[in-house]
């Protein structure tokens, strides 16, 4: 029996527009994964719930992209992309900092980050923002 929760990519982006990072949590084994699939890749259960994840994690690697793969992103280059290990479990590949700003060449991985959200070309995306040292 599949749960009637919206586990689709559209739900992910709708969550971003509301400042939330929606992920999928298996109700059987508690594994957390990206939305967009109907089965847990750890235990194969179909009992998946949509959760709003804690917006913290660690930037583990990053790269400054100088050539955009799509025309609508060309005006943003160069922009920084990173891999973030969320405290909730999964990894994300997202922008590091607002892609419309100049790239900060002085701050790279690894670093503690908070997930924030920016709207670009009519869609809201998650971005990693460096957390100040505590």
């Amino acid at each position: 029996m599949l749960k009637l929760t919206d586990n689709s990519p559209a739900s992910y982006w709708a969550g971003c527009a509301q400042g939330a990072l929606r992920l999928s949590r298996c109700e059987d084994c508690q594994s957390v994964q990206m939305l967009g699939t109907q089965h847990c890749s750890t235990c194969w259960s179909a009992e998946l719930a949509v959760i709003e994840a804690q917006l913290t994690g660690t930037l583990v690697a990053d790269s400054v992209v100088h050539r955009a793969p799509r025309a609508e992103l060309e005006s943003l280059t160069p922009y920084r992309i990173g891999v973030v290990k969320l405290d909730a479990g999964p990894y994300l590949q997202i922008w590091v900092g607002d892609p419309r700003d100049d790239v900060d060449h002085g701050r790279g991985a690894p670093a503690a980050v908070t997930i924030s959200f920016v709207s670009v070309n009519g869609c809201t995306y998650p971005v990693a923002v460096h957390r100040p040292p505590s």
Partner: protein, 381 residues
């Protein structure tokens, strides 16, 4: 020993990487190179009972191997189309080898051809970028970005430098200089690489695989079934670890790839080890791929791969010549050409770029996706 050793490569052929086959479809390229490979094997068309084909990027077919078979005018009993990214070429060989070992067929052609430059100029990279998972491609990563992120992790863990990575394409360009079929043959040095435009830091343009037309084919036969010189397939291995980068936990956390498994499997079947390999044909889409393959196969310890490059180990005169045709950054796209080059080197038929000391045992590896799919084959003269 396993039945894998019943299979040999009896014929091989490739089309030049720089010719630009404008107007030729992938099927045209595949058909041409299969005809060349079958003739190289000394076989007639009727002898071919399987066609295994790599899926072209620029065209969609329900089964590309059927298109090739039809153009060849043959009706094979087995076959299929394989899409495993950069692992496709070596995977074709593994599949054909296993079909022969199982007694299903006697002669298979394995072909991978595409006109990525002439038919899809500028679109090939976009197409590949579009294959990145939906939640990752939103922020605009290039295929190079996926490997740049792993390069960054490697630099953090092992202290590797941009100069060390830049030395990889320099070595392979020196090999391409001797290969008339290579697209780029002019010598380059480390400064040239680091001065080339940054694509996705720390990867520069000269550290990226070329986008070219290509076609390569081999005939895999039951041992003794073809009249010409053959190369024994002594071990094969395949693995899949993940699809998109952020699902690759072992890759991100340990810098371990599926090549560790494929290498162990192939070496075990062959009854040999890295120490006995004297030609390495490694998938070189970006320098980090070469570094991790060297370590996964046990040619060196963790974090030591780029020291091998510095020491000249991978050069033509070194103990482990690597990518003697020039590889994907200088010769042409496609891991299939690595297979063909290994066969020619082992047979002593590589022409102007034949190694002075003819190799006896080659390892050929293909790597697809973001270190997602892997295939290894051990070939022996």
């Amino acid at each position: 020993m396993t039945g894998v050793r019943e299979a040999v490569v009896s014929g091989a052929a490739a089309l030049d990487g720089h010719a630009g086959y404008a107007g030729w479809s992938p099927a045209d390229l595949a058909t041409r190179v299969v005809i060349d490979a079958v003739r190289n094997a000394g076989l007639e068309a009727a002898a071919i009972d399987a066609v295994y084909a790599g899926d072209p990027l620029v065209e969609r077919h329900s089964d590309f191997s059927a298109v090739v078979a039809q153009q060849l005018g043959i009706q094979p009993r087995a076959g299929g189309t394989v899409a495993r990214g950069g692992a496709t070429g070596v995977s074709l060989l593994a599949i054909a080898t296993q079909a022969i070992a199982a007694g299903h067929i006697d002669h298979a052609v394995c072909v991978w051809a595409d006109n990525r430059r002439s038919a899809a100029r500028g679109a090939a990279v976009q197409t590949l970028a579009g294959e990145i998972a939906w939640h990752e491609r939103a922020c605009g990563p290039l295929p190079a970005t996926q490997y740049a992120l792993i390069t960054h992790l490697y630099m953090q863990r092992f202290g590797a430098t941009p100069e060390q990575f830049a030395a990889v394409p320099v070595v392979f360009r020196s090999h391409a200089a001797l290969n008339p079929a290579a697209r780029h043959r002019d010598p380059i040095n480390i400064a040239d690489v680091l001065d080339s435009p940054m694509v996705s830091s720390p990867i520069h343009r000269l550290e990226c695989a070329l986008v070219t037309d290509f076609a390569g084919a081999v005939v895999v036969s039951r041992d003794g079934g073809a009249p010409g010189p053959s190369v024994r397939i002594s071990g094969v291995g395949q693995s899949t670890t993940h699809d998109n980068l952020t699902a690759g936990g072992d890759l991100i956390e340990q810098l371990v790839t599926g090549a560790a498994h494929t290498g162990q499997t192939a070496f075990r079947q062959a009854g040999t080890s890295a120490a006995d390999v004297d030609l390495a044909m490694l998938y070189d889409c970006f320098p980090i791929a070469v570094a991790l393959q060297l370590e996964m196969f046990g040619f060196c310890g963790r974090g030591e791969a780029l020291e091998l490059v510095d020491a000249g180990t991978l050069s033509r005169g070194g103990p482990l010549p690597c990518n003697t045709h020039g590889g994907m950054m200088s010769c042409a796209t496609s891991g299939m050409l690595h297979v063909v080059e290994a066969v020619l080197q082992l047979r002593g038929e590589a022409g102007a770029h034949q190694l002075e000391r003819r190799p006896a045992r080659a390892l050929v590896h293909g790597n697809g996706g973001v270190f997602s799919t892997h295939a290894t084959v051990i070939l022996e003269a």
